[in-house]
Symmetry: D2
Subunit: 346 residues, 4 copies
């Protein structure tokens, strides 16, 4: 089969690889029908994730059709259409039993990381009963690709951890795909205001069409001052960090009211300064989280019932065999006005 293979920093190829086979009775082999590219894949390609080694097939998102299942798989059979979770969970370790699949002792984020991933014609999915979700007949499968990673990430790490409530004022710092996923899913809880903050006017314009009530280009104006002005000098109930650099985490600290929440989504490469000399007395809560995908069933229901239009996140479509070109587009997201790209293997 063909697959997108990592060959060390800045080297990748669409090349022939052996088709995966069942290794454990809990495995399934899935024929990929649609997959996508994640910002994390770009990080890997830069060489930032040393656990990813030469020869690894990338990708941790997608939908497909069951090709084969191991002897202990009971929830799926050949021919079933499935949504692949970016997190593999064994369902039986201490963390899985707590719903913290991200820290599964036998899985976690391993696809396209520690084992071969989904940017390929076929993929082996460990713990298939716990790591795949059945796709209801008649679903728009393209929409569901957004449920492999980006929407549960925005929702769990940003919205749930931030405890967004009806009537709240929310700020989301960063309006890339993850920030937009938080924006879409924050609206499940009917906050009064959602203020998007970014440096890119195009993405801020997109944010408005996605439901942001206010946007701030922090390159052009003082974000703290604008937020204070918009909130009667108070600040926001929830600040969601969706970038992953010290400046944006610092900004969140300046935005939040006493009693408020800072929910980190961003993948950080260095430590940040935490202003405990003021925050110690502010009754705030700061959370971090690697997505657990424990809300995937809930999100499936919101897509089915049209409370969530995940198609909005998709800006470009390619054939899977054109994945090199798709990477080029996605890695120049600003220039291309790209959010998420879909790769079709059909």
């Amino acid at each position: 089969m063909k697959a997108l293979v990592y060959h060390g920093a800045n080297k990748k190829a669409w090349e022939e690889k052996p088709k995966p086979v069942i290794l454990q009775p809990t495995d399934a082999i899935v024929k990929i029908t649609k997959t996508t590219i994640c910002g994390t894949d770009l990080h890997i390609l830069k060489g930032d994730v040393p656990e990813v080694t030469d020869g690894r097939i990338l990708g941790h998102e997608g939908v497909g059709i069951i090709e084969a299942v191991g002897a202990a798989v009971t929830a799926f059979k050949k021919g079933d259409h499935v949504l692949i979770s970016c997190i593999s969970s064994c369902g039986k370790c201490e963390y899985c039993k707590k719903g913290m699949y991200s820290h599964c002792e036998n899985g976690g984020w391993i696809l396209g990381h520690l084992i071969d991933g989904t940017q390929a014609e076929y993929v082996r999915i460990p713990f298939a009963d716990n790591s795949l979700y059945p796709i209801p007949a008649g679903s728009d499968e393209e929409a569901l690709v957004m449920l492999s990673d980006i929407l549960p990430t925005g929702f769990e790490c940003g919205v749930l951890n931030g405890q967004v409530k009806p009537g709240d004022t929310v700020a989301i710092v960063g309006s890339g795909p993850i920030g937009l996923a938080a924006l879409l899913t924050a609206q499940f809880y009917s906050p009064a205001e959602i203020i998007m903050i970014d440096l890119d006017d195009n993405r801020l314009a997109v944010s408005r069409t996605f439901g942001a009530t206010q946007t701030i280009n922090s390159a052009k104006e003082n974000a703290v001052e604008r937020v204070k002005a918009l909130t009667g000098r108070k600040g926001v109930d929830v600040a969601i960090e969706a970038v992953g650099i010290p400046a944006t985490f610092l900004l969140c600290q300046s935005l939040v009211v006493p009693g408020g929440h800072i929910a980190n989504i961003g993948v950080h490469g260095k430590s940040v300064e935490l202003h405990l000399e003021t925050l110690w007395a502010q009754n705030i809560t700061i959370t971090t989280r690697l997505v657990d995908t424990v809300t995937t069933p809930m999100l499936l229901k919101t897509v089915q019932s049209k409370k969530l239009n995940s198609l909005q996140l998709i800006t470009h479509r390619f054939k899977l065999s054109d994945i090199i070109q798709a990477y080029d587009t996605f890695s120049h997201a600003d220039r291309e006005k790209a959010l998420k790209v879909i790769l079709n293997n059909e």
Copy 2:
């Protein structure tokens, strides 16, 4: 009347001041029968709290007897024995309605700070109906002085915010009075292990008598390594910071398991480094809080029912008129093996 008066950095005096009078219909005047000294009072005396100005009577803890009430006070009358909360709450602002009395728009921590305090023969208590608690007949009133500040602080900021659960492993960094208050109240929730970490062997020995299951002198051994060894290399479910300096907050970051809680109690004077480059993926929760004293009624019940022996925190007793000597003892806590001191005005 006599009172302990602040006269600028490092200057205090036990001197004559006018007896307070009712200023608002919601005020009460309380004759102090017992009060105490807080670590915060020492900070003020060093000049670290610039809002405290020359002439201010210090103190925000104590019990006493109602001397007079304003026209709108309905819950108390002359002669009632009352517990004074360190937090004055109006009961009607947005924050009070949320139970966040610490940020009361009309009160908060004002006693011995922005208005005259309790280290005096009499004190004026604003919003008396919401800021005083009736003392049940037959109570040990000395025990209840510990409920003005230190026990709700350890309980709310450390134990409740840290979400201590049965079977948990808890580390408390700092075994001064506040850390010990967290230690006593953590036991309400039956954690399996409570590990106290401090530099002072005497306080660690005290911790053992208060219920700590393990103690670590971090001057003598590597606390991170000891905690890892004690927890099967995992770490603790809850780390409570009860010192207020960068080193102890950093230590907490190294102790906590994925999914764990860091509950800050310490009053910090400078910013700290937050290791988001590792913690971003660890599903942790960090909380800060200025005590709300919203749990005072609950704590009163635990003292009444002997689930909490707050007397253990008291090591020294003085006449109120000997308060200068009491300050000397309390400010040399290590040398004097002092925890909390009681000042009697009877």
Copy 3:
């Protein structure tokens, strides 16, 4: 002034009464500008609420303008536009401190019940700082009359107690004004399906325009069977009882899935049968509640931000002096297709 006065079962009159005066320092006198009639007022008029005695002015909803305040009132002054809560809360008793204003030891539901109410030109509001809410400039005050009682009732007793979540399937039994208030506010949490069940086709048609995804006329079809058919034989996550008779509470017991919630809003006049012989093992939660109006600030924000269109509940408008005619319309709600009526005193 003129007021609607109860004179024993089935007797009421719009007649002259003395204008109320400040009795306590925490009182305010409010000039009513808009009020409404509640189903509870009809119950009182039938003689069902014996605590209401001859001579009582009815009504517990409305908006108005502050005419005078007592000496201890600090949040309001003459001329302020205010929303009146149906629940008077002292803000200082044990229940108020827990946010359970409905059981305030000094207040609770007393307006138009134990003290004179709002169907009058003026009303005395006890504990004004805690029982009134400021109306932001530029608000549609008619919309806010719905926040005195009906919307917090549907929201707190039905939606919050039922713990409606994104993706849930919700059944609301009863599509009168209270059931419709639950329907409107359930949508704050983006459930996948909201099934309204009633006997009145007009109200079911209204429900559809308010956001119901399915409606069932239980006089014409088997509601349990229809719900099973709509939910893949499972049932609903949340069943909200908004009628107050045994049959509808029994229906809720038949609709709910294992792990589900039954949230009672209805005012019941007799006991009901609870099928513990099956429900004991179904992991369900049943809640009851007299509205606390603790969510009024949250609801105000949702109205201001247009997440909630409370005007939809208003079908008829009258002059306050035409209140006898308004009662006639409201008490023939089916015939008149009436939901809530507004009485204007302007």
Copy 4:
């Protein structure tokens, strides 16, 4: 092997049965070392549970040693000492993912009910990785037999669902083994008072030694009046029903304060009257639950750390081969002053 076999109402025998074998890759065969008898077993023997058919081996509690595991079992191997949960959970269905193992679509309470149980020399345990727990070396295994069913039942259905908090007043109606399990585990949360109510003076005396602060023999005194007298006429915060008949559930309704919780543990055979005509306005929460055993890991930690002494529940010990005699003792619990009996197969 030998096993206790059900042969229709009132007929049981200790007789030879085939040794169980692995049927699914997720199965384990466990050699029983210790088991016990549950009140439910007595119900089955009376013929009250029609799904239990002639030939079924009874029993759903016990500890043992792994004899064999299926190909997909990864957490256990031959020779491991294990605790058997009364609930078999697949770990992958919708309910298991929510932690509601009691409603597992592939398991639930099936041992000694729908498949052969633990009152035998060997038992087949389905979904072994999710339904067994490793016993730490050095444990008192007898103490752990109490964790198969009775302690998680008292804790989850009574204490957790009842939301017992520090300082609370709790009433437990029924001081049989389940009520005593609730009594022991309620103390994890440091309530101020635990009032036990029963008809049997011996069990009430036992309750006192287990930590009850008050006991009421409801055959000899008016339980409602006594509780009112003990609680300043208020009632209890939490009422736990641990009998399973209408009278005791009715009693709970009379005991609870506004805002309180009624947590049902009892297995009910008929419907009960629910006094919604008063309770509708009392802001109460009623819960039901079949034990999920989701707290077994937590309970194991509390036993290991000596926060819970489960041995107290054991009054009698027999050889497994004397199980007929053990049933006689357990079914005359009053006469024999029996709580739980241990059957040893060693």
